[in-house]
Point group: C2
Chain length 303, copies 2
């Protein structure tokens, strides 16, 4: 079955059924995430949370970032030990930050647990391409994910992508991941990398709030173009990538509509096509709606 | 007084106080615009509208696009003759389209009257620039609006910009306006023009709904980059532009923060800086919020 570009956007900017979901609020009342009922049931282990059933709200009560981070660390470690949530099997030992409206850190939390609280997570996505006179003739470096990865095995990705672990910033993460995932050294990447925007969306894999497949994830992806020469080839460095292929824009298009890309990487790819005039208002009837799905308003404090 | 980029975005994506405003709905119930109370009072002249005071809704009742367009034409001509609204002094003899969810024309309306109904209007904005190795070294062609224009006299603009009059499309409009406003012929523009996205915002000049200064205008701007050589100079063709200046990105920045740009042109300019990596998450603390203001979700059927 083939997909339209709008279908692909709806797969990733897909949060829909959030009935029965709890608002996660800061001690001083800001919305910071969403918590599904099966997670709320497990919060009773920690004194750090106040659950308001009638208003479907969970409030974290501690007043310092340090205390909040410590309480979450203890709780997540408990959950992991007791095998409460499958997602914690992917424990990363990496801290993800949550911000307050003043853009200071509100708390940090183990990466694999962020989705249980519907917290905004941040990433950097890089598209490596060999330019040409006409954008339609660009060649793009597309990796296939390792078949042994726990998430999205064998799917197609953006050239390089990585989450922003505290305290790394977007540019720093982009440079680091180019080395780690694609063997592209900082000296090569630094002068060629261009910051080109930021995409925001709200993902929900299945439209159910009963179990882990329904987890809600708002995401911010900083995006970068990396203009490459024909002779430099990315190569798998850390085992996350099965292989890199140099594809024409037509080949990327075919794999997109064929559903071969990881959902959020399809979004980044289509945004690339829009920014470079390959997809236009003249050749894509859902142009405005597609761009809208790349820029969902996230109603949380952001960095 | 200098402005931050976020200030500038809030000036253009500024709809805020819409209390007491009427929802404008199609005969079959779709939201198509917003009508301020002082305009609703004048709708009683036409049998084509049903006003529901309790729900603050105005419905256009006619069942064909042709009938609706004819009723609006007659009403606006009446208003103009009786000098009911100042904005109709700018009568353009140009038709703006309103769409139904199927992307077919729902009706057309005289351009200068669209704002009275809070209808979505469409434009094409082109940034002409001379490229350089580093985007910070780009030079940009910036026109100053004629001092005799009725709207925004003497303000700075995007290199070329124009509204989409029915039935012209965005690309066609971009090409035509380059000739008309800047003396750049189609043969020059066509191979150099690049479609790079679409911006959406909701403008309200003053936060009042009492009079014409408070009129609400949702807008869609298709955007284009025009990579130019150093020797080709745009020049005023139709009297809309006072003069064109070739500015460094630093000069454009200074004029932006100084408030010298027409509001929506500042938005297009800042988006250009973002797409070309001049404004980045590292040098702009409100990066995500600024990008958000460029992509407001418009809750209406769009083309």
């Amino acid at each position: 079955m083939t997909h339209t570009y709008l279908d692909l956007m709806r797969q990733v900017d897909s949060a829909k059924n959030l009935e029965g979901v709890y608002e996660f609020r800061s001690h001083d009342g800001n919305k910071i995430g969403k918590i599904l009922p099966f997670v709320v049931a497990q919060l009773k282990r920690s004194a750090a949370f106040e659950i308001e059933e009638e208003w479907k709200t969970v409030r974290i009560t501690l007043e310092s970032a340090q205390e909040r981070s410590a309480a979450l660390k203890a709780l997540c470690a408990d959950w992991r030990q007791d095998k409460v949530f499958r997602v914690l099997e992917g424990w990363r030992n990496e801290l993800y930050p949550v911000y307050s409206p003043s853009k200071t850190i509100y708390f940090v939390i183990e990466r694999s647990a962020a989705c249980l609280f519907g917290l905004v997570t941040y990433g950097s996505h890089i598209t490596g391409y060999v330019p040409a006179q006409r954008p339609e003739d660009f060649l793009l470096w597309v990796p296939r994910r390792s078949y042994s990865k726990p998430t999205w095995p064998g799917k197609l990705d953006n050239t390089v992508a990585g989450g922003l672990g505290f305290p790394a910033g977007p540019w720093e993460t982009a440079i680091k991941e180019c080395q780690e995932e694609a063997g592209l050294p900082a000296e090569y990447v630094q002068p060629r990398l261009k910051t080109v925007g930021v995409l925001t969306y709200e993902f929900q894999l299945e439209h159910t709030v009963e179990e882990e497949t329904g987890v809600y994830q708002p995401e911010v992806e900083y995006i970068y173009d990396l203009e490459m020469d024909k002779d430099t080839q990315p190569h798998p460095e850390d085992g996350e990538v099965h292989e890199f292929s140099l594809m024409t824009t037509q080949q990327v298009h075919e794999r997109l509509v064929n559903g071969e890309f990881k959902y959020n990487c399809a979004l980044v790819m289509i945004d690339f096509f829009i920014r470079h005039g390959i997809v236009t208002p003249e050749n894509e009837q859902d142009y405005i709606e597609i761009v809208g799905h790349c820029h969902r308003k996230l109603d949380y404090p952001l960095r």
